[in-house]
Symmetry: C2
């Protein structure tokens, strides 16, 4: 499957100047002629450098969500390090939820498509412990239009004011009861071609669609929660009383390399549901 040692440009770019241990510096005289690529300040442990190289392959699309990546042994040969070092790199990527190990089968690129029981980023649960005792959410797309980024949206997405963005508004319901109103802003260039029809026809998580149709994988997200009052139009969309308390969830989602790729503002009805969070 993999062809170790054939990746000449990747076989020797490792910075050994600060790598402890005997193995690498003894395994070959790397003339260190290779440039340090881009933003990497180098001077990091070997396994961190390996982690960076694997990350680069993930970003470049060499391995796509759901794919198996080469075995630890193959990667060790390719990068000219020991299997244990590759293992430590993969360990960290696995705890970051970028890779998934499966004993006896291999290591896979994580995906939102079949991520355990899907909807990894949705934390709204019924107060009764009934896990998804209501079936999947029903989606209704209210609008989907291209527009120019406001100063605020541009700031959060790392764009410039006026850059093209796509705005989506939708309502999620459980058992016919509206529960979430979401406004979503996406960079226009990366999501060129996304239409209301595409969204409406799609089943499954929106982040899975982003992966398969636009090659954008959301890796992590930061949310800011507040309690707000429903204004009249929001109330009518959610079927609640004007002035009713709603949980506001403002999320910025990032793809590889901490690049923001989505701004989302959700308003959650929490009369019979709650946002669950675990602290440690």
């Amino acid at each position: 499957m993999a062809t170790p040692l054939s990746h000449a440009t990747e076989a020797t770019p490792l910075d050994t100047r600060t790598s402890p241990g005997t193995g690498v510096s003894a395994s070959g005289e790397n003339p260190s002629a290779s440039a340090p690529a881009h933003g990497t300040p180098a001077f990091s442990p070997l396994y961190q450098q390996i982690k960076g190289l694997i990350l680069r392959s993930l970003q470049s699309g060499e391995w796509k969500p759901g794919d198996v990546i080469p075995s630890e042994f193959d990667l060790a040969a390719r990068f000219r390090v020991s299997q244990g070092t590759v293992r430590k790199a993969i360990d960290e990527l696995a705890t970051d939820n970028l890779l998934v190990r499966r004993q006896g089968k291999g290591t896979f690129v994580a995906t939102h498509a079949e991520q355990h029981i899907q909807y990894r980023f949705l934390r709204l649960l019924p107060d009764t412990g009934d896990l998804d005792g209501q079936g999947p959410a029903e989606r209704r797309i209210i609008e989907c239009k291209r527009q120019r980024a406001s100063a605020e949206v541009a700031r959060q997405l790392g764009l410039r004011t006026g850059d093209p963005v796509l705005q989506v508004r939708r309502v999620l319901a459980f058992s016919g009861m509206p529960a979430i109103l979401e406004d979503i802003w996406l960079p226009g260039t990366a999501f060129k071609g996304l239409t209301q029809e595409t969204l409406a026809e799609d089943k499954g998580p929106m982040y899975a669609l982003f992966e398969s149709q636009f090659g954008v994988r959301m890796v992590r997200a930061v949310e800011k929660l507040k309690a707000v009052s429903a204004d009249p139009d929001v109330a009518s969309l959610l079927g609640s009383e004007p002035g009713a308390p709603l949980l506001s969830v403002e999320r910025v989602a990032y793809t590889y390399n901490d690049e923001p790729m989505e701004l989302r503002r959700g308003l959650y009805r929490t009369e019979s549901r709650h946002y669950r969070n675990e602290l440690s």
Copy 2:
């Protein structure tokens, strides 16, 4: 400091029946006469068993919050395994925030007393990125009384209805502006002797007080968030309008062994602050 091999009862309680590798089964004929202690179903990797033994020492108070634990080498000798195996056990305990490694100094029992910049479980931040640009919170204890557990409180704390509990109500303020109203329920037996005076005089995090005065270390917590409306008495305590939206945060905090030791219900004003959460 440590006296390896002197802990006869701990030197050979490891279940080697399913331990892979050559080292352990070759290092001594453990007659497996030792009983499996208590709830441990055994049949786990060696490092998991080591993790359990370390955990037991943490629970028993052999090593207290802030203490250094024996070096990896000493622990390896004590448990009759290799240093690498101890290392993997400590790795997991460190990612669980039970232990903290410090290069060149040792491995320490985590504590809420000087946990980075304190208040590890408080997620309410000012909307302006000014990290604690307002100084520490001002605390005002409103009441502190012993009572009997309601059915609901008993259920959440793993007690029986009517068992003695301690209830505390307090207000936290920033720059003189009330921001949080908290009701806290604690098991009466574990916190015998906790008085309003103790709480009022104490500076620093409440969880640090729990550690030093009652030997109770909170390890993790689960929170349920909702948006609610301020009722009149809450509003007056928080200085907000009746009916104003508040963020309700219901927390159950656990000590070692997933034993619930605190139920806390906070009401947060979120006009100029937000609850921050990171998803991955």
